[in-house]
């Protein structure tokens, strides 16, 4: 019979634990890790060559094709359509590419100066809500695709130059305007109209 009190108080006769070095830990961890990496790579390679093409191919006229081939094909159709559109236009308007056609195109693409002038007058009276009579237009001209606007800002005292800058910004925001060249900012004093800022603005269309 086992002597229980002696056994409880006596030393346990267990084997001394063996110390495990980092090399052993590394070896045990690295093997599953390497196995996982190799299996993952193998599956991805198989998927790339066998599985992915099956799911990403698109049927073009019943024939499975690569997406890149589809892109090329669509670009080809679009280029052919453009070519045919040009050919159709050339047949309907046979003189379009002659010197007469160029003159007509140049004339028809000129902006309507009168319509633009009406828009400018509207902008000149509304861009400064508190002073609708600040901008006076002396003339508007069109030459070589550039509109030149001559006028001056008055009735705003010493603020006239700032108002010119605000007016230029308002013109720049008009539809169809590509660029507005800043005028030279000056302030002059006239006996009749007081302080005023004459300006010449060059407006380029888009």
């Amino acid at each position: 019979m086992t002597d229980i009190p002696t056994a409880m108080t006596g030393k346990l006769n267990l084997p001394t634990p063996v110390s495990v070095g980092p090399r052993e830990v590394l070896k045990r961890v690295l093997f599953p890790f390497a196995l996982f990496s190799v299996v993952l790579l193998s599956l991805l390679v198989l998927s790339w060559y066998l599985l992915l093409p099956r799911f990403t191919r698109v049927a073009l006229h019943g024939v499975p094709q690569d997406p890149s081939h589809l892109q090329t094909y669509v670009e080809g159709v679009q280029a052919e359509t453009k070519k045919m559109e040009d050919k159709r236009l050339a047949l309907i308007f046979p003189l379009d590419h002659s010197s007469f056609g160029d003159l007509v195109q140049e004339k028809m693409s000129q902006p309507s100066l009168l319509a633009f002038y009406e828009q400018l007058k509207n902008v000149a009276t509304t861009f400064l809500p508190e002073q609708s009579q600040a901008v006076f237009v002396q003339s508007i001209s069109y030459e070589n695709d550039v509109v030149q606007l001559k006028g001056d800002v008055r009735n705003v005292g010493l603020q006239s130059m700032a108002v010119v800058a605000q007016f230029v910004e308002a013109v720049r925001a008009m539809p169809g305007v590509k660029r507005v060249d800043f005028p030279s900012f000056t302030r002059e004093r006239d006996e009749n109209i007081g302080f005023h800022s004459p300006f010449v603005i060059q407006i380029h269309f888009s």
């Binding site: 690295l30 998927s47 589809l70 159709v77 046979p94 001209s141």
Partner: protein, 288 residues
């Protein structure tokens, strides 16, 4: 077997295999994701739009075949009219001055214009593209309505057909509308475009009715109404249905010689709604 055992027992070899496999696997995984994304975002929308693109290409090819039939005949007749009347080898300055005088007298009788300055005829300048230009400069006082009509008339000077008086976008809108309804209707549209501008503007109804009988879709009729009611064609109708039309026929002023606008200036006049218009025009002629 021993080699394999030593192979899997070597941390160096296992580490190398792991790193190599992962360094290939990660980009390959990213390539998978990219491929799926490309198909979803690019290929599928392209595939969806392809039938309509191919259908349109077939329609345009059909229209080109139909149009080719009478293109050669039409080109010759239009070119002849341009060479004889619009861009002659000798600039007919008296004819251009007579046309401007007719415009002034017509608008003056309507109260739309006031005084016209003497018309200065400058020295001819070669343009280098087989054309030469005779400068014409004058000033005119006019009401805003008169100003609009003078500028419209100058734009009409030198245009021969209905198609010439339409902008590229207006022409394209009409052509596109025929694709959707009746591709062979392009022949009727082509005939409309090549109709003499003066004849059409003087009596537009028969030409318009004939075209509307061939192309009746709502889309086409909307584009057609837009093109005929808001373009330069409307100004042409206003001029040539009025007293100017018969006067131009009587004095053989149609087709007009080509007038290009070099410079135009508008300045407010001293009275309300009156303006001073300065125009620098070029009367064009062929040099060869």
């Amino acid at each position: 077997m021993r080699f394999f055992r030593s192979f899997i027992g070597s941390p160096l070899v296992l580490g190398f295999v792991s790193m190599f496999s992962l360094s290939v696997a990660v980009p390959l995984l990213a390539a998978h994701i990219e491929e799926v994304r490309t198909v979803r975002e690019t290929a599928l929308p392209l595939l969806a739009s392809l039938p309509s693109l191919e259908r349109r290409l077939a329609l345009i090819k059909e229209q080109v075949e139909v149009t080719e039939l009478d293109a050669a005949l039409k080109t010759g007749s239009q070119l002849e009219r341009v060479r004889v009347s619009v861009l002659p080898t000798e600039a007919d300055v008296p004819k251009a001055l007579a046309t401007l005088e007719l415009l002034r007298s017509t608008l003056e009788s309507e109260g739309a214009v006031g005084s016209l300055s003497p018309i200065e005829v400058g020295k001819e300048k070669p343009r280098g593209d087989g054309l030469a230009a005779v400068p014409l400069t004058f000033q005119l006082s006019a009401r805003s309505a008169g100003l609009r009509r003078v500028l419209a008339f100058v734009r009409l000077a030198g245009l021969v057909t209905v198609g010439d008086a339409l902008t590229a976008s207006e022409k394209n809108a009409l052509i596109r509308a025929t694709e959707e309804e009746n591709p062979s209707g392009i022949v009727m549209l082509e005939q409309f475009f090549s109709t003499d501008l003066f004849s059409y503007a003087a009596e537009p109804r028969p030409v318009e009715e004939q075209l509307k009988r061939s192309l009746q879709s709502e889309g086409f009729l909307t584009a057609f109404q837009q093109a005929t009611e808001t373009s330069l064609l409307k100004d042409a109708k206003d001029f040539f249905q009025g007293p100017m039309g018969p006067a131009m026929t009587r004095t053989h002023l149609w087709p007009m010689e080509f007038l290009a606008i070099d410079r135009m200036e508008i300045a407010p006049g001293s009275a309300t709604d009156w303006y001073r218009l300065t125009l620098q025009l070029s009367l064009m002629r062929r040099t060869s």
